[in-house]
């Protein structure tokens, strides 16, 4: 880590751990002590039409991008192999850019939707605005990178992935990052910032995505006289 400025060391070698620690600790603590606050805080009930044009492109876009980044992190060699043929690279890059733009359009739609509606402003907290700002920065930076620093799907796998793995292996190696453009660094630091604010706002709805619904029994019955469920209820009532 020699030859790195103190700021670089903090942002790329220390802050990621802080962010991750805050993410894990606060999420769990909030889940255990304030379960009532875990909600998607949907505002569809107050405004339905513009919600559709914002929430749908945003969610489909960001989910695709998330799994795209995840793939490049987990199986970089496969991504590189896929990109080995030119047309496949173009297809991947164009698809990613389309989903990036979808996310951006959706997010803008959601922000303007809130700004333009008095009812929605009443249910918008400072935490929401912070989140909107961070997401907007992140997505604009991402789209900028996709447009101006071409074939990100390839260099991500050979530059960012080893850096992330070095963090993951508790041995941060900042040499991969030297010479990266400002926008890319912004994208990285902002990503860790989003991770750090994650457990404080509405993003926690991601942690409680209801996948067990797909295989649970249709009807739910709870017996309060059953000692086990009574004990569970008591513990849940009393933290």
């Amino acid at each position: 880590m020699t030859g790195q400025s103190a700021l670089n060391i903090f942002l790329f070698a220390i802050f990621p751990y802080l962010a991750f620690f805050v993410f894990v600790f606060v999420s769990i603590q909030r889940y255990l002590s304030r379960p009532f606050t875990y909600s998607s805080l949907s505002s569809q009930f107050l405004e339905n039409r513009r919600q559709f044009w914002g929430i749908i492109p945003f969610h489909y876009g960001i989910i695709f991008l998330f799994f795209g980044h995840l793939a490049a992190f987990v199986v970089p060699s496969h991504v590189l192999a896929w990109n080995g043929v030119a047309w496949r690279l173009y297809v991947l890059e164009i698809t990613a850019l389309i989903f990036g733009l979808l996310t951006l359009i959706g997010l803008m739609q959601l922000i303007f939707r809130r700004l333009g509606d008095h009812k929605l402003l009443r249910v918008t907290t400072p935490a929401d605005w912070v989140l909107y700002a961070l997401l907007l920065i992140q997505i604009i930076a991402g789209v900028y990178i996709a447009v101006f620093y071409r074939w990100g799907s390839s260099w991500f796998s050979s530059v960012i992935t080893p850096y992330l793995w070095s963090i993951f292996k508790l041995n941060p190696d900042l040499s991969y990052l030297s010479g990266l453009p400002f926008m890319v660094k912004l994208h990285i630091v902002n990503a860790f910032l989003i991770l750090a604010v994650f457990p404080f706002g509405r993003l926690v709805h991601l942690l409680v995505v209801p996948n067990p619904y797909l295989w649970r029994r249709t009807q739910v019955v709870r017996w309060y006289r059953n000692p086990r469920s009574a004990l569970k209820a008591f513990i849940s009532d009393n933290g």
Binding site: R30, R34, P35, F36, T37, Y38, S39, S40, L41, S42, S43, Q44, F45, L46, E47, N48, Q51, F52, I55, I56, H59, H118, K119, L121, R122, V123, T125, A127, F200, G201, R202, H205, V208, P210, P212, Y213, L214, R216, T218, Q219, V220, V221, R222, W223, Y224, R225, N226, P227, A230, L231, F234, S236, D237, N238, G239
Partner: protein, 496 residues
């Protein structure tokens, strides 16, 4: 046979005067918080009318309830696989505009207005935004507006009525309306519970009350569209769903729910029934015309020794079985077949039953003279001012037979009591009418007693809920009695 107990209800529509006391009692206890301001867990609607939220019965608009799709029950709105694309934007969610924007008034202006030529007014203020608003709708906006071209004529229950029958409802001289008080039906096959992706909604095993676990609700909003009665509400402030809790903290301490307790017309009855949980699925799949019989078949006779034995085997408390034997609901629904479930064609198996209204008294206006009721039972029922077909759409899954039976029996009981107390009609005719209405004299007396002379204890046969036994291992029951309730431990706020 899998015997379970269920707290169940009967509303006697003939006695409802539409005073909204029940709504206010509920509002004051449960929904006077921010975000719940627009909710009426109990509301009273004028029928014919569009109700609250507007046209809630129209499932083409709201897609609530179940359908029987090739022998499998399927939710109309969302379901297991369909939740995946619909979780971000619920295509069937009603919005606040379908209910109304809650408001208060700028009362301060009455005191603080500067001196002027006019009386100051208290302008309406939105309880959501705090801005001045023009009120466009309210929870009982069409109160008493039977015959209104805006509300009454848009009632979804008018489907299938002939022009003559509609004329019967709307002709000015014969204008007719009645009231429909509504709470959560605490269904046996609740669509809200089945739709909840988080498993936050559940039915209590011991008493069948349907609740939303506030700590598990994540605001996915599927329950709101799934409930065909629109009795689950979205708290726009906390981002959680809320619904009628049948005042379970009151029931657990032996008191009737607030809306029941405060009912001025004494139209409400509450009691326990025993039912066969094994047959819910089978009965909910029946063709529409057989649903009412299917539901009645599922409700078990609490005097039958085999039922009692099975109930004991399922750990149903002896006191609950005793309660079930005295249940006024069982009498209205099973013994007398007077009370009918609302819109059972939604297939949720509602556990709230309505006695169809006779009022206004059946009479025909001929040549400017109003004729009193005649002895011709069948003819009169067909000529009732509320067309049978209308009541059948509301309470009979579209078929008039069950509604006619209930009305005929009620009328025969009236006729019989008139012969007993006034004596201006012959007892012979009264007995003939009772026979025609499938009613014995003893039954007529029992119906009369429970309808007209009923005391508090007759109307509300609340089983001991034994909640203290369930919690005493962990907590002092006296402390539980004082602290159990809603929003007590975590303040209902938005976000962290």
């Amino acid at each position: 046979m899998n015997v379970r107990s269920q707290i169940s209800m009967v509303f006697h529509l003939d006695k409802c005067i539409g005073c909204h006391t029940c709504s206010i009692a509920c509002k004051n206890i449960w929904t006077d918080r921010k975000g719940t301001d627009y909710m009426w867990w109990n509301n009273v609607e004028t029928k014919p009318g569009t109700g609250y939220p507007t046209s809630w019965e129209d499932q083409k608009k709201y897609s609530g309830g179940w359908e029987n799709k090739k022998g499998k029950l399927r939710l109309n709105a969302t379901g297991k696989a369909r939740i995946v694309p619909n979780i971000f934007h619920n295509p069937h969610l009603p919005t606040m505009d379908d209910y109304y924007e809650p408001w208060t008034y700028d009362y301060q202006n009455l005191f603080n207005a500067p001196e002027g030529d006019d009386q100051p007014t208290a302008k309406p203020i939105s309880m959501v935004t705090g801005d001045y608003i023009d009120i466009e709708a309210g929870p009982n906006w069409d109160d008493d507006l039977g015959g209104s071209p805006v509300y009454a004529e848009n009632d979804p229950n008018l489907e299938g009525l002939t022009p003559d029958q509609k004329q019967q409802l709307f002709a000015v001289e014969r204008l007719v309306l009645f009231y429909l008080p509504r709470i959560c039906n605490h269904c046996l096959n609740p669509a809200c519970v089945a739709s909840c992706p988080s498993g936050a909604l559940y039915k209590r095993g011991e008493d069948g009350i349907v609740l939303v676990d506030q700590k598990r609700c994540r605001g996915w909003r599927t329950c709101i569209s799934a409930c065909p009665y629109k009795k689950v509400y979205y708290n726009w402030f906390t981002g959680k769903s809320e619904k009628c809790i049948l005042c379970f903290p009151r029931l657990e301490t032996g008191q009737a729910p607030a809306c029941f307790h405060s009912c001025v017309g004494r139209i409400r009855y509450l009691g326990v029934i025993l039912y066969d949980a094994e047959r819910i699925d089978e009965m909910a799949k029946l063709p529409p015309e057989m649903l009412i019989d299917g539901q009645r078949e599922m409700i078990l006779d609490p005097h039958d020794p085999e039922v009692i034995a099975q109930a004991r085997k399922n750990n149903i408390h002896e006191s609950v079985i005793e309660s079930a034997q005295k249940s006024p609901v069982y009498k209205f629904v099973k013994d007398w077949k007077l009370a009918l479930p609302p819109h059972i064609e939604f297939r949720t198996m509602p556990m709230l039953f309505y006695v169809p209204p006779m009022a206004p008294v059946m009479s025909a206006r001929e040549n400017g003279v109003v004729n009193a009721v005649s002895g011709d039972l069948f003819h009169d029922i067909e000529q009732a001012r509320v067309p049978l077909k209308y009541l059948a759409n509301l309470l009979g899954a579209g078929k008039t037979e069950k509604v006619a039976y209930a009305l005929r029996k009620q009328k025969a009981v009236r006729w019989y009591r008139r012969a007993v107390t006034v004596g201006d009609v012959s007892m012979e005719a009264a007995e003939r009418m009772l026979r025609e209405a499938d009613c014995s004299i003893a039954e007529a007396e029992a119906i009369y007693a429970l309808t007209s002379l009923c005391s508090f204890e007759d109307r509300f046969v609340i089983p001991p809920m034994h909640r203290e036994e369930a919690i005493e291992a962990f907590r002092d029951p006296m402390e539980q009695k004082q602290a159990a309730g809603f929003g007590f431990i975590d303040k209902p706020r938005r976000g962290l």
